[in-house]
Amino acid sequence: MTNHWRDIKHADLILINGANPAEAHPVGFQWFVKAKLDPTKGPGAGGGAKMVHADPRFTRTSALADTYLRIRTGTDVAYFGGLINYVLQNDLYHADYVKNYTNASFIVREGYDFKDGLFSGYNAATRSYDISTWAYETEGDPLSGPPGATQARAKRDMTLEHPRSVFQLLKKHFSRYTPQMVSSITGIPILDFMSVARMVGEMGKPDKVMTIVYAVGLTHHTTGGQLIRSGALLQLLLGNMGRPGGGMNAERGHANIQGNTDHAISWEILPGYLRIPAPGQKNLDQYVQASAPKRSDPNSWNFFGINYRNFMVSLLKGWYGDAAKKENEYAFDFIPKPGTNSSWMSIYDQALKGKMEGVMLSGMTATSIGPDSNQVLQGLAKLKWLVVMDALPTTSSEFWRAPGMEGAKINTEVFLLPATHWIEKDGSFVNSGRWSQWKEQVVPPEGDARHDHWILAELFDRVKTLYRQQGGKFTDPIMALTLNYKDPKKPELDEIAKEINGKNLTTGSQMTSFALLKDDGTTTAGDWIYTGSYPDAGNLMKRRKGIQDPKANDPTGMGFYHEWAWSWPLNRRVMYNRASADLDGKPWDPNRPGIQWNGTAWTGDVPDYPANMNPKDPAAWLPFIMNGEGVGRLFSNSMLDGPIPEHYEPYEAPIPNPLHPNVSEDPVAFLYDQAAGRPNRFGKVDKYPYVATSYRLTEHEHYVTQHVPLLVGLQPQAFVEIPQELADEKGIKSGDRVRVSSERGKLEVSALVTKRLGPITLAGNKKVYQIGIPIHWGFVGVSADQNPEKSKYWLANALTPMVGDVGARTPEFKAFLVNIEKF
């Protein structure tokens, strides 16, 4: 989230896409309801808001929304594109914001083009774009920064009239997204779409603000990245980024998925979103030049870019201590450099190819998660060894006895290690709003259970001993890795929290801000975005000054609660908040200030800007200090599938793309089976006529709650939701057993016939049904134990395709084709 849960109550309009907060994040949803209902506030001040829910299924979120739009899954780019077009065609954008706070005025180089579904630079043989054609036109002397790199300054036209200005290109691009086109792609009736467009059109006024809230219903598509970007573009055009009540807000699904993304258990990054070095980068200079943002405007501070090297060296110094020296580029060579994408699906792709020897899973079960669970099972069976660290058995620890698997023929050596629960250890959980909240150890570990990090510390120690005794491949990083804990085999989370914050090696003090980190080996920071969370004064994540005293703890009344836990970066509660105020530093809406300039300093939230920089100074920095442009990017060359979002069909779709039928799907999405030479596993609409999507229920969390009897009692068995009209056609009644099949596998579950789903009408008057599949069941858990026969085919992801967004590699869990029959 750019903002945070409590902040949603400040919105005038809430657009919800690819999410069902009333059921999936019910307690967070109270802030949506408060935006509508808080009787102490009026419209524009946290009450009287409108809520629009676009979703294939009418859920409890829809029930509390003012407008529900039945949308075809995977078509939200068309929906947002239509809204963008409406805002641009009718001059409803926030003109001052667009001109000064976005790259609308930047001129794009000649040669950029978009035609028949393809952007310029496409290479069909490699299924990729040469993104150099998506660059700005430049002029004048190059600008410096990051250190060692220069970049030519981008040409701008502040009238926004230049035909190659980003603004005009955007206008042209989205002009195709007429209400008729939106309707034929999404299935939303034109009049319903127009009523929402009119509401959204009001939100470009400076004293109005809209928020967009989404979840994995937007990310789990081959166009996942662009789906999010299309919403972000709309928010930039309406001037809603950086403002209380605004922003792009991802509701994350797991207790600490945010913290563990920040700390980079992710193949492509190092802690704090530093890029993992790539092959060919021989030293820090080359790494920084390839990875850090570069200034393209003289008024761009480019804070991230100019500090990239400081952050990286502080990380290396923290990890490799005395072995990280100036002479060896601070042990830059110790960091592994991946040659190919190494994300989730790639792990099982490599396993299927026989190239992956061992997999370690903690709190994640590959079999249930999928996609294409049957292929994942085959992949696991090809491993030499599998380690599952978990408090409870999973469909992965038990994969060798999954229905259809022959354990006697599977040579994978499997370990199941009893790990502790969250309540048996302390440490922080970071919520969707980036609030890092410390929890205490409530009870000691149960029985033989051990903390995950103690298991890893023990394993590392034993591996190190083996290398010491026997030698082996490149042992330097193993020997040098710092383990400066009281007991290196049992590090305390408090010690690690201090390490993450970092310290000044000269004075021995904890660092207080990442702005003070250096690239000369005198500072450390395990994750620079958490620098400041644990100063000498103590662990700020432990703070709990909340609503017990709102006057003292929330002096601005804006719900920041700066002394409740700690949020990154620097305890800031709304990101990009410089953009919440106008050029002079006055809040766009005085009733909902983020930060404001009082003549000498910025007050309010922790400013995303130098605390004393006078906004009226001609040399004042542009508002978005973290990127090279200094402004929000309506056009970006950081995406691999296009500088502007475009609607592409899911890989299994009921119709050809109405915009460009010859380039129907995303032309650069990564097709694992095809690339590996395995047989095609995509199905076509003639054999699989129904659109399917998957989702979560209130009573379960992914797969772990299959072990919680109270929750199993509330939602005891696997089912699919089928629209009434389709059920009538097929003679299916609620409670009937049905088989749902895709080209990859099948489900055998109970039918739940419902009016929550219904037919939609697409291009060419084609009637399409969508069916809904909750994901929570499998062959492990209380229900499965009680129904061993019935639960054989309960893995929802047996149906889903192994294909992903080219950049994010999010699988297309949310849109695929199936057939359904009663049996």
Binding site: W267, G339, S342, G407, V443, D452, T698
Partner: protein, 195 residues
């Protein structure tokens, strides 16, 4: 009248409630107060610890009440923390039943081992499994380590080991996992964000 928070209500205590009861209840006693006393007695003297819900990422703050019973810490109750600006004491069905996850009888009790080709688990001790896994890690690292790629670039990567996990880790555990895995040269590093 300003809204009474749940915490303030609890602080009013039984005395205040009993005073109202004399007037309000013809039977001369107040069922509400009696019920409240019963709940209070369950957690009276209990240790109050601060936790966070283990399920979704709303990040609802919890209070866990524990008591020492026969030298063992026993969880008595887990409830929403009324001070939290995030949940203001509220919990959903999952959070409200968090205690059942914490005290599950279905826990993995000991390290378990399934040998290649076997159709059953065997109970093992920690030393057995840790030694074996450490040997596996070293062997797979040595088998699949690439010091230089085909173009001669120094890449120092372990291609044949993957680590995935962490959505239920404390952040600090997650950071430690990243550090150790990168230290071993692992490139296939993943968690729940994409899936």
């Amino acid at each position: 009248m300003p809204e009474l928070t749940r915490r303030e209500f609890l602080k009013l205590g039984a005395g205040g409630a009993a005073g109202i009861a004399v007037v309000g209840n013809p039977l001369g006693f107040d069922l509400k107060a009696a019920k409240k006393r019963q709940i209070e007695s369950r957690i009276t003297g209990a240790k109050e610890s601060k936790s966070i819900c283990p399920y979704c990422a709303v990040g609802c703050a919890l209070i866990a009440y524990t008591k020492q019973v026969n030298g063992k810490t026993e969880i008595l109750q887990i409830e929403g923390d009324p001070d939290s600006p995030v949940n203001e004491g509220r919990l959903c069905p999952k959070g409200a039943s968090a205690m059942q996850l914490a005290t599950s009888s279905r826990r993995v009790e000991h390290p378990m081992y399934r040998a290649p080709g076997s159709t059953k688990w065997e109970v093992k001790d920690w030393d057995f499994v840790l030694d074996k896994i450490a040997q596996n890690i070293k062997a797979s690292r040595d088998n699949t380590f690439v010091a230089q790629d085909a173009s001669g670039n120094v890449v120092n990567r372990t291609e044949g080991i993957a680590f995935a996990g962490g959505a239920a880790f404390s952040s600090e555990e997650g950071y430690f996992a990243t550090k150790v895995m990168r230290g071993l040269g692992v490139v296939h590093l993943e968690q729940q964000a994409r899936v």
